[in-house]
């Protein structure tokens, strides 16, 4: 069952690479957030189920609902076009995605595994999602797309943590969640100001500071 989730996560990565419409991208990231929240619930919960469930539900609510809602608002408030015209085209982006996927599986197959029960696929998926986030941040022009890329990357890191059932104390996990939330919040505000003072949110045109 977890395998199916991982496959779906890979597919969200490709969908994200292949689309430039902001609204669609936000929805994809929201879906990814929801899938992420489900992963720990489908694993073996052992005796910590109450805590894990609470955290999973919280993460699901923040990554799957609150942040997407907030980003949609930021998008509507910025007068910019709601579609990105990236430096690397969408079809080419997907080809890059295929290469990244291959690389991720290759790396994951070479890592030394301490415990054979650890899901190898999770490592590959996590690397892949991180790379997708990275690539989107690099290749897209609009500030909002870059925030989405950052979120995707963060999701990828989170998958790694979940997959290894890294026993991170709930306080830290809460802190991580809070930090991501505030980061996206602040980025959204900055995007709003950028669109207000420049009439666009194209980051490649933010180039007055050099040298």
């Amino acid at each position: 069952m977890q395998d199916l989730l991982f496959v779906l996560l890979i597919l969200t990565g490709f969908v994200f690479l292949g689309s430039g419409r902001m609204q669609f991208g936000i929805r994809t990231v929201a879906l990814q957030g929801i899938l992420l929240g489900l992963i720990p619930l489908l694993g073996n919960l052992q005796d910590l189920w109450a805590r894990l469930t609470a955290l999973a539900v919280l993460s699901l609510a923040i990554k799957g609902m609150v942040l997407p809602y907030f980003l949609t608002r930021a998008m509507h408030k910025s007068k910019a076009l709601h579609e990105d015209n990236p430096f690397v085209g969408f079809t080419a982006s997907m080809v890059v995605g295929i290469i990244c996927l291959g690389g991720s599986f290759w790396i994951a197959s070479r890592l030394p595994f301490i415990d054979s029960s650890q899901p190898k696929m999770a490592v590959a998926v996590s690397l892949f999602i991180v790379l997708v986030g990275f690539f989107v941040i690099i290749s897209r022009r609009k500030a909002l797309s870059q925030v989405l890329g950052y979120l995707v990357m963060e999701n990828g890191v989170y998958i790694f943590g979940v997959a290894f059932a890294v026993d991170v104390p709930w306080l830290v996990e809460l802190g991580v969640l809070l930090d991501v939330f505030v980061a996206v919040f602040v980025m959204g505000i900055v995007i709003f100001h950028i669109s207000k003072s420049f009439d666009h949110i194209d980051t490649d045109q933010l180039s007055s500071l050099t040298g």
């Binding site: 301490i114 950052y150 890191v157 026993d167 950028i194 500071l209």
Partner: protein, 499 residues
């Protein structure tokens, strides 16, 4: 006893609560009073904090390394805030907000002062948490929090350029920090051989059991932590946000960014190196640190040459000094002691330089080095401090920086890294010449006619803070108190150095 138990929590909570209060206080005087009293209280707590007992089940604990960095943060914050309050008062009075500090450009309304004050205090709280956290996960949360608290401060003058700087700062640092989180997870994986079930990222336990960790996973974890926190620390080639943020923030905020924030990120890397040391892989981390250190120094030197903006010049100088710190820790042995000493010197010096740069900006209203001439006529005290700061930051003899840079050089030669020592000296001299050609021209000569200096001269508030810092660096250069030397020695031992 009660005081001992409470002091660590108080260190974090005092600025946090004061920050929340500052957001709500309307009257300016009251808010500024609160800011200064919180800074003073924090400083007093920091001085008396040695030997404070751990709280939260060992999550918060103060070792000598943390204490050293906490001391830097607290002192610099206090001094910068005293300057900052004067600056904010001037900013309020002038009819051209944003002009005092921001140089030429369109007139814009500053953000609300209460926001800036609140963010400053939250920022102090987050940096304190970085210094006192004994848990790597908590450390991560705190470092990310410093980014988020400082971003609105960079955007204080709502100019397009500051917006650009804020955006780069937020995005690049967040990405870096996300990589560091990956590093934390990798570290947790490397420990899973001896999984005891209890929160695996507690520093004390990590150090005790590090010998049993899986070496490959540990190395991967270190790389990610180094790159992640290195982004925040301003190590080349991930430093690109740094000059923008430092040049666009209000000057006293730049001082805090450069003197305190970069050190906090460095602390994150030091913690990772501590674990490597304990697990017997010290050489792996040290080589990487040396490489990144030299690269940062070299790159900074290139950008300081012919730098047209004096605040950016200072920012690149920060990149250089972060490189020196990394190099010092990478060399190991006595160089670690030098690096610790250098961290203190650099923070004080760079803080002072940014404050003086703020003075120059507010009078000359430009950041361009070409348009500033004859400072010694226009603002004699600031000009003298600017010269002194330049000599200090380039490591000239009477100042503490000379000693610390010399200790690192000596260690490099003792360990027969001759090529490295030569490159090190070469870069330092290039930077000396490059900065001298900029600074001396600014101080000497006749003021340009076209540049009408602002009406107000130098007030004591603008002078006092940098002067205090300047005296401190001078004292450190000629006399080191025993208690301070012990602290440095202990801190160096923690990171695997020998004094």
């Amino acid at each position: 006893m009660l005081f001992n138990t409470l002091s660590l929590s108080a260190l974090v909570l005092v600025p946090l609560i004061a920050g929340a209060a500052a957001l709500m206080i309307r009257p300016d005087r009251l808010r500024r009073g609160l800011l200064i009293s919180a800074a003073v209280l924090h400083f007093l707590l920091t001085i008396t904090a040695s030997g404070a007992s751990p709280v939260l089940g060992g999550w918060l604990a103060l070792d000598s390394l943390g204490h050293l960095f906490l001391g830097i943060v607290s002192l610099l914050f206090l001094v910068a805030i005293v300057y900052g309050v004067g600056y904010l008062a001037r900013e309020k009075q002038t009819k051209e907000p944003g002009r005092v500090d921001a140089g030429s450009g369109p007139l814009l309304v500053n953000s609300r002062e209460s926001w800036l004050t609140g963010c400053l205090l939250f920022y102090l709280s987050a940096m304190t948490l970085v210094c006192v956290s004994n848990h790597l996960g908590l450390l991560w949360v705190a470092i990310e929090a410093t980014t988020l608290a400082s971003a609105p401060m960079i955007f204080f003058h709502r100019r397009p350029q500051s917006l650009e700087a804020t955006w780069k700062y937020l995005l690049i640092c967040s990405i870096g920090i996300a990589l560091a989180l990956f590093g934390n997870f990798l570290l947790a994986v490397s420990t899973s051989i001896i999984t005891s079930g209890e929160s695996p990222l507690l520093l004390d336990q990590l150090l005790l059991q590090a010998v049993h960790f899986h070496p490959q996973w540990l190395k991967a974890a270190f790389v990610f932590l180094l790159v992640g926190y290195g982004t925040k620390m301003g190590l080349a080639p991930l430093h690109t946000w740094l000059p923008d943020a430092h040049s666009e923030a209000p000057s006293f905020v730049s001082a805090l960014l450069s003197g305190a924030l970069l050190n906090c990120a460095f602390l994150g890397i030091l913690r990772a190196q501590q674990i490597l040391n304990a697990s017997g892989l010290a050489a792996f981390g040290q080589e990487l640190l040396m490489g990144f250190g030299l690269l940062s120094m070299g790159l900074a030197a290139i950008f300081i040459l012919q730098q047209p903006d004096f605040k950016r010049m200072l920012a690149y100088s920060s990149v250089e000094h972060m490189g020196i710190l990394a190099l010092g820790v990478g060399l190991g042995g006595t160089a670690v002691f030098g690096a610790m000493f250098h961290a203190v010197n650099h923070s004080l010096t760079k803080g002072m330089l940014f404050l003086v740069a703020g003075n120059i900006l507010s009078v000359m209203r430009t950041k361009s080095t070409a348009e500033v001439r004859g400072l010694s006529h226009l603002m004699p005290v600031s000009a003298a401090l600017w010269m002194a700061g330049f000599l200090a930051i380039t490591g000239s003899p009477p100042f503490g920086t000379f000693l610390s840079e010399f200790i690192i050089l000596k260690a490099a030669i003792e360990q027969s890294h001759y090529a490295l020592a030569v490159i090190y000296l070469l870069i330092l001299s290039v930077i000396f010449v490059a900065m001298a050609s900029i600074v001396v021209r600014m101080v000497q000569g006749v003021p340009l006619r076209a540049r009408e200096p602002a009406a107000h001269g130098e007030s004591w508030l603008m002078i006092a803070s940098p002067l205090v810092l300047c005296v401190l660096i001078l004292i450190l250069g000629v006399y080191m108190p025993d208690i301070f030397e012990d602290l440095l020695r202990d801190a160096a031992t923690v990171v695997g150095g020998s004094a």
